[in-house]
Subunit: 163 residues, 2 copies
Amino acid sequence: MKKQIIISIFSVAAILVGAAVLFGFSNDEVKYPEGYRNWTHVKTLILEKGHPLYDAFGGIHHIYANKTALEGYKAGNKFKDGSVIVFDLLETVSADNAVAEGNRKVVGVMEKNSKKYRDTGGWGFEAFKGDTRERVVKNMEGDCFSCHLSQKDKDYVFSEYRK
Amino acid sequence: MKKQIIISIFSVAAILVGAAVLFGFSNDEVKYPEGYRNWTHVKTLILEKGHPLYDAFGGIHHIYANKTALEGYKAGNKFKDGSVIVFDLLETVSADNAVAEGNRKVVGVMEKNSKKYRDTGGWGFEAFKGDTRERVVKNMEGDCFSCHLSQKDKDYVFSEYRK
C-alpha cells in the first residue's frame, strides 16, 4: 500500500512537470534588457521640476529599442512580438550652464508579447532600480498601463523615433 | 611631330593616373558617417545659454561610436584606426518644464587614421550642417584640433563612455 502511494505521488508529479513543459508554464516576468546600451538610441527627453511627472520620472531619459522595436518605430509605432523598449532614466547634474547625466534612477522596460500580456495591450512592463536588478513594478496595469493607455493609437508607446 | 607630342601627353597622363592609384592618392576628407544613428550611444550633454561654448555648441548633443570607437572608449579612450565618433548636435525646445530635442544643428565627426591625419593627433575632423552633407570645417587644425589638443591624455577625445 505504501509503495502504491509513493508510485502515485511520483506519477502525479511527473504529470504536473510534463504539463508545465508542454503548456509553457513560463515566467511572466519581463526580463532585464541585457545589452540595451548597444541598442539604437531612439530619443531623449528631460523632465524638470514642475513637470507633472517629475516625482516619478524627473531627470534625463533616453529611449533605446532592440531591432524588432526599431522596425516598429519606423513602421509608425506598430510593434511586433519580441519588441523591447528601454526607458533609461538618469539624474541630471546642472553646473556652469551645462546639464550632464548623473546616476541612473531606473531602467524601465516594455516587452511585446501579445499572448503573455494580453491584458495590458500586449506589453509587459517592468522597471529595475538604478543599476540593480531589483524589480520596482508591483502591478503592470496600475503602475504602468493605466497611463500608457492614452497612447493606444501609437501601440501604447509614448515615444517616436527621432531621426 | 604633332603625333609624338600627343602620345607623350597621353603617356604622362597615364603615369600620373597609375601613380595615383598605386600610392592611394585618396581623398583626405572625412566621410559622412552613414548609419551612425544605429551606433552605440556613448553619452549626452546639454550646453545652455551662458556656457562659453554656447555659440558654437549650444543645445543638446549626443555622442555615438562605431564598433571600433566603442572598444576604444571601453579601453579608457585609446582609439584604434577606423574609430569613428559622431557629435550629433540638436536644438533644445523647452516648454512646460520639459526639454525636448529640436532640429539638428550639426553632425560633427572624428575619424581615426594615424597616417592620414598625423598632423591632428591621428584624427580627421569634419562637421556637416544640419541634415545636409554640406561641409562646415575649413581647417581641421584651427577649427577643431586646437581645442581637442587639451584632451591629449584621452586621445584628444572629450567624451568618455557613460555606462
